[in-house]
């Protein structure tokens, strides 16, 4: 079979995880001898739509999209369908009729939050615990879902309360700045028992803030976050972080498998291929994981 041409519309490179996803996708494509047309949308939906239209105009064999937002894809997906170009969604689901895309390879963002919440509930046991939350970019779907999930996770435990919640825009700088002000606002941070960050970058920032305030992250204040980027494992190894929920950057692998199967013998994949959301704690030999991951261009 002559090699496939696949268009990949990536959101951008706003975080380490995103960069890793891009690298992995390119590697996976190479492995399979797929020529990948990559388009970076600089965090703008309109750019993604333009890119997809561009792919259609070039007549690619299939399109991968990492949608920046859940809504607003119907029109362009219809066009793709009319040209019967299969479309696969990566790492985010969208609110469109299911017949408009082949399948979605995503984690369950709500579930990620839930895992984090449940871990914390188990970890603190019965004693009271004030949690401060570092949200992702206001309005972004991971921010919304991971907040929702975490709240579900701690619903059972009435002793755990979210006392403060601000956005850290998924960045270290803001994560650190916000954490600093949380510490000031919560009596020097003594009464904060845990930090829940919507991604590891913010957690890393928070850890530094806590250290500079003269407290011990990981013991005085527990750190639980999501993504499992290499740097958090270094922190974990130092005992400065407690838990992280993995969001695998390898969405493309399963996607390409499904695609090839589909193109070879019209085998409809399931509408949702869920990647696992594995919980890592200090128990899982952080340094090893770190070594394994740091090659992936995080």
């Amino acid at each position: 079979a002559q090699s496939l041409t696949v268009g990949f519309s990536q959101i951008g490179s706003e975080s380490g995880w995103r960069a890793a996803e891009t690298t992995v996708t390119k590697q996976e494509a190479e492995k399979r001898g797929v020529t990948l047309k990559f388009a970076d949308a600089q965090q703008k939906q309109e750019n993604q739509i333009k890119a997809i239209r561009g792919f259609i105009a070039q007549g690619v064999d299939a399109i991968l999209i990492a949608p920046v937002v859940a809504t607003g894809w119907d029109a362009v997906l219809k066009e793709a369908k009319e040209e019967n170009i299969p479309v696969i969604l990566l790492d985010r689901e969208i609110e469109s009729p299911k017949d408009l895309y082949l399948t979605a390879v995503t984690s369950d963002q709500v579930f990620e939050g839930k895992v984090a919440g449940e871990w914390l509930a188990k970890d603190v046991g019965s004693k009271d615990c004030k949690v401060v939350e570092l949200q992702g970019t206001t309005g972004s779907s991971p921010a919304i879902n991971r907040k929702k999930g975490f709240e579900e996770g701690i619903k059972a435990a009435s002793n755990i309360k979210i006392v403060r919640s601000q956005t850290g825009d998924f960045t270290r700088t803001k994560g650190k700045e916000v954490m600093e002000s949380f510490i000031k606002a919560e009596g020097g941070g003594k009464d904060i028992c845990a930090v829940y960050a919507h991604n590891d970058d913010m957690a890393v920032g928070a850890i530094q803030a806590i250290k500079e305030a003269g407290l011990k992250p990981g013991t005085d204040i527990k750190i639980v976050s999501i993504d499992a980027v290499p740097d958090i494992f270094q922190a974990m190894a130092k005992g400065e972080a407690n838990a992280t929920v993995e969001l695998t950057p390898n969405m493309a692998g399963p996607a390409f498998d499904a695609l090839e199967a589909y193109l070879k013998d019209k085998k409809e994949p399931p509408k949702w291929i869920q990647t696992e959301s594995k919980l890592y704690t200090a128990a899982d030999d952080p340094m090893k994981v770190y070594e394994a991951k740091k090659g992936l261009g995080y």
Partner: protein
């Protein structure tokens, strides 16, 4: 009128605004004004403001000069990213601190000179000339870090961001020091005066023998230099270069600070001190929002609200109303460029 009272008169609106804002925040968030010493380091929200203000304050110094020349520099946010990336790369490649700092500053100045060429030589309108580097700059920064957050573990360099000297955080030294040096450079030499002349009427100034090009170059170069220092602080602060987010949209805050400081975007008379107070106002708002504990959805609208109030209160119109009851609004309007607030 003595020099001092004139200065005070000039800075009054900004100082008052700052005081009021701090007051309001301390009402919402008790203990906001308390400053203590923890493990040999000044500690408290006010200190946070001074530290967190470092990047925007530094940018403001450069931006003030650029705006005084009737220009504007949108690229400094990106320059922060570039210089941060450069610094981080060099550090993780194990170069010595002086080398790292020197190179980063050099890169910043180079970026400024690039803008200077576009504006002064090719005569491209500043906003679009600097837009080019604003767009491309982040790309260049990511090219340097290869798209990842380039982390390093070098405590001496990290000290630039989070260290402290004699109990005072180092970033404060850096921005206050830079501001002092550049401020003196402007006012103890004739640079400031000549920049103002160029900004107000470039043709007339050059006909009087003022070397407008050189002045434009130096203004943009200084702007780049300040951005470089800010870039190192930001990078050192998080012990990593985040090419995508470092200094993102910071140029807007800087412009806002300059204007809140009462320097007109039409160029001419400028006051670095006033701009710095403007920067502190902006940062106080940001920090205040964080400690006040409102849900994040409100951040922007609160910020916008306060800024609008401040600007309105010190707008030429209102100033005239207070300052010169006699002055005729029409003559004001006619001489549109005039900046009562700055005199």
């Amino acid at each position: 009128m003595t020099w001092f009272t004139r200065r005070l008169r000039r800075l009054a609106p900004q100082l008052v605004a700052l005081a009021i804002i701090l007051g309001i925040i301390s009402l919402i968030a008790p203990g906001f004004l308390t400053v203590s010493v923890q493990n040999g380091r000044l500690y408290g929200s006010l200190i946070d403001i001074l530290v967190r203000a470092a990047p925007v304050a530094l940018l403001t110094v450069g931006m003030t000069l650029v705006i005084a020349t009737r220009g504007i520099d949108l690229s400094i946010g990106a320059v922060i990213a570039i210089c941060g990336a450069v610094a981080a790369t060099l550090i993780s490649d194990g170069y010595s601190l002086p080398v790292v700092i020197a190179v980063s500053l050099g890169v910043g100045i180079a970026c400024g000179l690039w803008n200077g060429v576009l504006v002064a030589v090719l005569d491209i309108q500043p906003i679009i000339a600097t837009l080019i580097l604003m767009v491309a700059g982040r790309g260049i920064a990511q090219l340097i870090t290869e798209g990842v957050i380039l982390t390093f573990n070098d405590d001496t360099f990290a000290a630039l961001g989070s260290g402290s000297l004699a109990g005072i955080p180092i970033p404060i030294y850096l921005w206050v020091g830079t501001a002092l040096v550049i401020g003196l450079l402007m006012r103890r030499t004739a640079l400031g005066f000549l920049i103002e002349a160029t900004g107000i009427n470039r043709r007339a100034a050059s006909l009087a023998g003022v070397r407008a090009r050189f002045l434009l170059f130096s203004a943009y170069a200084i702007s780049g230099l300040c951005a470089a220092i800010a870039g190192m602080i930001v990078t050192a602060d998080i012990r990593g270069a985040d090419a995508n987010n470092a200094g993102l949209w910071l140029e807007l805050d800087a412009i806002l600070a300059v204007v809140v400081g009462g320097t007109s975007l039409n160029g001419g008379r400028f006051s670095i001190t006033a701009s710095l107070i403007g920067a502190l106002i902006i940062q106080s708002i940001n920090t205040g929002i964080l400690v006040s504990g409102f849900p994040p959805e409100f951040n922007l609208i609160i910020k916008a609200g306060i800024i609008i109030v401040v600007l309105t209160l010190q707008s030429p119109a209102i100033m005239t109303l207070f300052g010169f009851i006699k002055a005729s609004r029409r003559s004001e309007k006619l001489n549109h460029g005039t900046k009562e607030a700055t005199r």
